[in-house]
């Protein structure tokens, strides 16, 4: 650490102190407000995490970052998360890189009724467009918007927490708001680097309904619904009508899961999406049935109405991105074939990786990247919509604006007139 003190370093060292406090020092026991004596500390929450250090060790074997120290730090921060928040479990989603700071992200399942949105008294049930997320711009009510999914369902099945070690946070976790279809629809049209500040404004066209944390949450949803994969049979998916609600949490295989052979794991058919895609038009996971199909939403065009890839579809069914295949499967440690590790990476979402070893019994997904999609072509920002032609009133006569030539001609006439008048 540098010996010459400066603002940047002082700030950074503050973060280290904070980190030490948050990660290593157990919270001091609360003090009885009356007697001033320390009370017994409340039992920490009993949430669980997968063996994150081990997962990151296997990912390191696949060439995906995280030094051993950072792996430990993340595992410890995750441990503190499930001790503090009322969640049943949490997994490490990954890291989204930002310009000024990176986001370390955890995916958690709140205990029944413990999510903030479930604890607030339910106000207006019916349309439920705006779930009270802050930072959103007031939305016009011209069209009926597709309602957001309630917490615990579809694209809001999980809660996401963000932490940053580098910044002032020093390892504290912040809950991200749930996502709305409107945010997802606009997010699909943007391509931006994150700043690293959750409250930063998103200056974009089309205007994004929210601040950076909403955009972050939207991108997480897009990544999760596109890249959550596991070895075939690992998570039980019951044919056609199974949503991801039937699946156990990733990390615990279906009890009847049997180890797969290396060839199966090394083929795209050996891997399955275990989360359905987000619907293209409604930008929800579960189709919103209240409305008949007439009122198709903004981005709804040529896509077939309400189909998306269900959970359970094989990776081999995913379409390539122009000439680039959607997924790449790599054998790791080829030289020691007795203990194979298979790495799968998404080429559509660069930074999304999965690994499997021990016949697929050990597997995890992770995302470490800039948070945007690879399209294979240059980004074309969407054009503003065509101006709606108003009907002209009968007494209005349209004339062309004078051109520079017209004006010069007029000036000339004027000048001639003046000269004539002078003459």
């Amino acid at each position: 650490a540098p010996s010459v003190k400066s603002s940047v370093f002082t700030k950074a060292e503050d973060a280290v102190l904070k980190q030490t406090e948050l990660l290593y020092k157990p919270a001091p026991p609360p003090v009885d407000p009356e007697t001033g004596e320390p009370q017994e500390a409340p039992e920490p929450n009993d949430g669980t995490t997968p063996n994150i250090q081990e997962q990151l060790y296997y990912l390191q074997q696949c060439g995906v970052g995280f030094s051993q120290e950072e792996s430990f730090r993340i595992a410890l921060a995750m441990r503190r998360l499930v001790e503090k928040e009322q969640v049943t479990s949490a997994r490490f989603f990954g890291k989204i890189l930002g310009q000024k700071a990176d986001y370390v992200i955890a995916e958690a399942t709140f205990k029944e009724g413990e999510h903030p949105s479930q604890k607030e008294p339910a106000e207006e049930e019916a349309p439920a467009e705006d779930e009270g997320e802050d930072g959103g711009e007031p939305r016009k009510k011209e069209k009926k918007e597709t309602p957001a999914e309630a917490h615990g369902a579809g694209s809001n099945k999980f809660a996401y927490f963000v932490c940053s070690f580098a910044g002032q946070a020093g390892g504290a976790w912040t809950l991200l708001p749930d996502v709305t279809p409107q945010q997802l629809i606009v997010a699909r049209q943007l391509k931006r680097y994150f700043t690293g500040d959750l409250e930063a404004k998103v200056d974009s066209y089309p205007p994004f309904p929210g601040v950076e944390k909403n955009l972050l949450r939207a991108q997480i949803a897009r990544i999760v619904h596109a890249t959550s994969i596991s070895p075939k049979g690992f998570i039980f998916i019951d044919g056609d009508d199974a949503g991801e609600g039937d699946a156990p949490d990733i990390g615990t295989p279906f009890p009847e899961f049997e180890a797969l052979d290396a060839e199966t794991l090394e083929s795209l058919d050996g891997w399955r999406h275990h989360v359905p895609e987000v619907l293209q038009q409604q930008a929800r996971v579960e189709f919103y049935k209240e409305e008949p199909e007439e009122g198709a939403e903004e981005a709804a065009e040529e896509e077939p109405q309400e189909e998306s890839k269900p959970a359970g579809s094989a990776l081999s069914e995913d379409s390539p991105i122009l000439s680039t295949p959607a997924w790449t499967v790599l054998k790791v440690n080829k030289l020691i074939p007795q203990y194979p590790v298979v790495a799968v990476r998404s080429n559509r979402w660069p930074g999304a990786y999965s690994f499997a070893t021990d016949g697929g019994k050990k597997t995890a997904n992770i995302y470490v990247g800039w948070g945007y999609k690879f399209t294979g072509q240059a980004y074309n920002p969407p054009l503003p919509p065509p101006v709606v032609a108003d009907e002209l009133a009968a007494d209005v006569k349209e004339i062309a604006d004078p051109t520079a030539d017209d004006e010069q001609a007029f000036d000339k006439l004027d000048e001639e007139a003046r000269l004539q008048a002078e003459a």
């Binding site: 540098p2 950074a12 070690f165 790599l330």
Partner: protein, 328 residues
């Protein structure tokens, strides 16, 4: 980064999400030493990793003697660092073609790309049949697609575009000035061109770590002790180790900016266009300053302030970010 700093550098940069697997590190430890010995290089640099859709390339560079930008040689490994072979320099035309290929590298060095090219039509009278380079092109065209057929296209650089006369070339209304043609580019050419392009974007060094000596040679500054304090988190403290382009600043301007002739003979990252094409972060728990290029995503550099530790490496998908202006 220097081969001898490989592990430290890789660890320092792992926080950005890319690392070398243990088998790659173990293999590089021996193969880079072998490379150095075989070519008698003064210095071997681990350049980085380029993602391919069926496998990755590891790239190393060797420096026969004192630093110049010309005499370095580039090597590629497609077997996780066990063996390296040299990448030949590419022509400017091929480099231009390579810049127009998009999508992931295939992971197979013999893969061939078909590239549409607008070539000026030569209306001068000429023998109508059998343009000289046609057989090679034909061979390449028939071999492409299976990805293994690069052998047919062997024989080095793709030929300079030669005119073809087929149906569309017949002038009907106004004679078109250009025609569309397919030319082929081999993956190793694309890769060599890419490495070159990133090198031109510049490996990053902290200011003062290289100096211009009295003989106007760029040499490593043996007494470099690292950047200090806030300087270490300023883009202007980091320079491109490449022939300077912005050095044409007037001496008055240089004086105003406090530039020193023997330190500031290189371009600073702060002058890169567009502004914001580099990010800089300091992580207090590891004590590392990390720089990331947003224009060449995957190009990383690090420096440990108050130390002579620094290095840069490329770990990416082999593409320039042409959308950068929309993304900031």
């Amino acid at each position: 980064m220097d081969a001898s700093d490989l592990n430290a550098g890789i660890e320092a940069l792992a926080a950005s999400g890319q690392t070398l697997s243990f088998d790659q590190r173990a293999a590089l430890a021996t193969s880079l030493a072998v490379l150095q010995r075989h070519y008698n290089f003064a210095r071997v640099v681990f350049w980085g990793r380029v993602t391919g859709s069926s496998g990755d390339y590891l790239i190393a560079q060797g420096q026969p003697k004192g630093l110049t930008f010309q005499n370095r040689r580039t090597f590629v490994s497609d077997d996780n660092g066990v063996t390296f072979k040299e990448l030949q320099a590419v022509s400017a035309a091929d480099a231009d073609r390579a810049s127009r290929v998009s999508g992931l590298f295939s992971g197979n060095l013999a893969f061939t790309y078909k590239i549409d090219e607008q070539v000026p039509i030569d209306y001068a009278p000429k023998p109508p049949a059998a343009p000289k380079a046609e057989p090679t092109l034909e061979g390449a065209a028939s071999a492409e697609g299976d990805g293994e057929g690069g052998d047919a296209a062997e024989g080095g650089d793709a030929p300079e575009p030669t005119p073809r006369d087929d149906e569309e070339a017949a002038p009907e209304e106004a004679p078109p000035a250009f025609e569309s043609r397919k030319v082929v580019l081999k993956e190793d050419q694309r890769l060599a061109a890419f490495v070159n392009a990133v090198d031109n974007a510049g490996s990053v060094i902290p200011r003062g770590s290289y100096i211009l000596n009295a003989a106007q040679e760029i040499v490593k500054n043996r007494s470099f002790e690292g950047l200090v304090g806030d300087d270490s988190t300023k883009l202007s403290s980091y320079l491109h180790l490449r022939p300077a382009r912005n050095a044409a600043k007037s001496s008055l301007q240089r004086e105003l900016e406090g530039l020193l002739p023997h330190h500031d003979f290189l371009d600073s990252l702060a002058d890169d266009k567009p502004a914001g094409s580099w990010t800089i972060q300091y992580d207090a728990s590891s004590g590392v300053v990390t720089l990331r290029s947003l224009l060449w995503p995957g190009l990383f550099a690090y420096h440990v302030p108050n130390s002579s530790k620094f290095g840069s490496v490329y770990f990416g998908h082999g593409e320039k970010n042409v959308d950068l202006c929309f993304m900031l």
